[in-house]
């Protein structure tokens, strides 16, 4: 059977070069980087630092020294979720400013963290004194935050503004540079969740002007369970994991050496391939959209048609439900993702689609196609060829479809 994976925004296949680079660190070179004073520890210490440089270079941090005791501005974490949690919690926990601004279309790792902090700052004993206030900025129908909304929402007590770089469901890219500049005028920190952009489009922390930036290895052909938080020098952020002093005592815990090395190589590969790859994926996405919209009536494209990730396409199909589409496509060997959060028990449609003004009943029928380096033109053609029939089947069954 065909096996066409078009859910690369959920996770990607680690590149063979990545796995190969990891292997020695799962074998011979297993030493603990914290064991500085003997051989095998020194090798892994150096490997971690090399990966830090590779990660840094991908996001415009070029001056990381060879000294493994100097994480400089790249701190390794267990993934994008931890990076997001750290950025928000670390920015308000020990600070007197207790106002957070974020947007309606953030990833749950940001939204749920903000909500938790709004409830109690982790402490219901003195919730009144410590709870944060959270302002959620709206987005327009293409997914863009309006800089004026941010300007109005900022206060003297704003500790941090967190706006994601590109959205994981619809791919819209925010004007981060402008938003960060506005934020800094009012003295707040600016964080961006760049989990969907790092490795896919150029990301330069200095050009963007952000203080904090989250990334995750498995979104660009690195391994799962490894990520990083960029923390601009001078940013006051609380430690996230207390313990043995790793990562300059800000994020303790024995380093996931193999994961870190893998993420480093993934960064290097991304840097090399990015330009050509983005162009290729952008063309494939257009082919896919044209092919589908020519063959399937009443379908709509969600998100911004231009200011978006090259490899992500979100389509709404009238008269069909997302999970059903997903499962009928799976029967044909095509793996996509449904915008609906149906699976989580409460049958809520995607908060992202609602945020851009898609109606509840429409949001359920949306599908995300996300491409990667592994996606071929044949894959796309196969989807164009098979999807119309599958969708017709579903619509024939549908109560709401009025062919």
């Amino acid at each position: 059977m065909k096996n066409i994976y078009l859910d690369n925004a959920a996770t990607t296949r680690p590149a063979p070069e990545v796995v190969e680079a990891m292997l020695p660190y799962l074998g011979e070179l297993f030493g603990n980087p914290s064991s500085k004073y003997y051989g095998v520890g020194q090798i892994t210490r150096a490997a971690v630092q090399k990966a830090r440089q590779q990660v840094g270079r991908l996001i415009g941090v070029n001056n990381i020294s060879d000294n493994p005791d100097d994480p400089y501005e790249i701190y390794f974490t267990s993934g994008g979720t931890e990076s997001d949690n750290w950025a928000l919690k670390g920015a308000v926990m020990c600070k007197s400013k207790k106002h957070i601004i974020t947007s309606a279309f953030e990833h749950h790792a940001v939204l749920e963290t903000a909500e938790m902090l709004e409830k109690s700052l982790g402490c219901n004993v003195c919730a009144k004194q410590t709870a944060c206030e959270v302002t959620i900025l709206p987005v327009d129908s293409t997914g863009l935050v309006n800089p004026d909304d941010l300007r109005k929402a900022l206060r003297d007590e704003t500790a941090i503004v967190s706006i994601m770089h590109a959205n994981n469901e619809i791919g819209t890219i925010q004007p981060i540079k402008e938003l960060a500049a506005i934020t800094h005028e009012r003295g707040a920190l600016f964080h961006t969740d760049a989990v969907q952009t790092v490795g896919k489009i150029p990301v330069d922390v200095n050009d963007l002007g952000v203080d904090l930036l989250s990334m995750s290895g498995h979104k660009f052909h690195g391994p799962k369970g490894i990520g990083a938080l960029y923390i601009r020098k001078g940013t006051r952020l609380d430690p996230f994991l207390n313990g043995g002093g790793q990562e300059r005592a800000l994020r303790a815990g024995t380093h996931n050496v193999a994961g870190i090395v893998g993420m480093g190589v993934a960064c290097e590969l991304a840097m090399k391939n990015m330009e050509a790859e983005a162009k290729r994926e952008r063309a494939l996405v257009e082919t896919l959209w044209q092919g589908l919209s020519d063959r399937i009536p009443k379908i709509h494209r969600n998100g911004h048609p231009e200011i978006r990730l090259p490899g992500t396409l979100n389509v709404r199909f009238e008269g069909a439900e997302g999970e059903a589409i997903l499962m009928y496509m799976d029967m044909m060997g095509v793996q996509v993702s449904s915008g609906s959060a149906c699976s989580t028990g409460d049958i809520k449609p995607s908060h992202v689609l609602l945020a851009i003004g898609v109606k509840q009943e429409e949001a359920h029928g949306s599908i995300r196609f996300s491409l990667s380096h592994d996606t071929t033109a044949e894959d796309i053609q196969y989807v164009i060829d098979t999807m119309p029939k599958q969708l017709d089947m579903i619509r024939q069954m549908s109560v709401t479809w009025k062919g």
Binding site: E323, P349, M397, V399
Partner: protein, 127 residues
């Protein structure tokens, strides 16, 4: 170790009794497109038995499979027997559903009951 049982997958892949019974004796419509699931069951009754039954559904895989299974269970049964088909018995006939999907099996049994009640109302045999 599948999220869905083989039975669910079978009914999902080959849904039985899809469509609308023409000039149905009873029609039940439950759910709400806003919530992402909606279902219509139509029946023809002959000699107090469900002679023909069809469904249309907008919903997830479980919604389709439970609709299909519900129509299979109901077909040929007397009205009273069909009213005995519960949410639980549909789920059981499908070898179980993931916990978060029990809601859908509810929907299908509800649709069947609604269709029967509609029939009874129209034909003066209401509860």
């Amino acid at each position: 170790m599948n999220t869905y049982s083989d039975k669910v997958m079978d009914h999902f892949q080959n849904p039985r009794n899809v469509g609308e019974v023409e000039n149905a004796d009873g029609v039940g419509e439950v759910g709400n497109p806003t919530c992402g699931d909606m279902m219509r069951i139509s029946i023809r009754v002959k000699e107090n038995r469900i002679d023909e039954i069809k469904f249309k559904t907008l919903g997830c895989g479980a919604a389709i499979a439970t609709s299909s299974m519900t129509t299979e269970l109901a077909k040929g049964k007397t009205i009273d027997e069909a009213m005995q088909i519960t949410r639980a018995s549909v789920a059981e006939a499908l070898d179980g559903l993931p916990p978060e999907k029990m809601h859908c099996s509810n929907l299908a049994a509800d649709g069947l009951h609604a269709a029967i009640n509609d029939y009874r109302k129209k034909h003066g045999a209401g509860e």
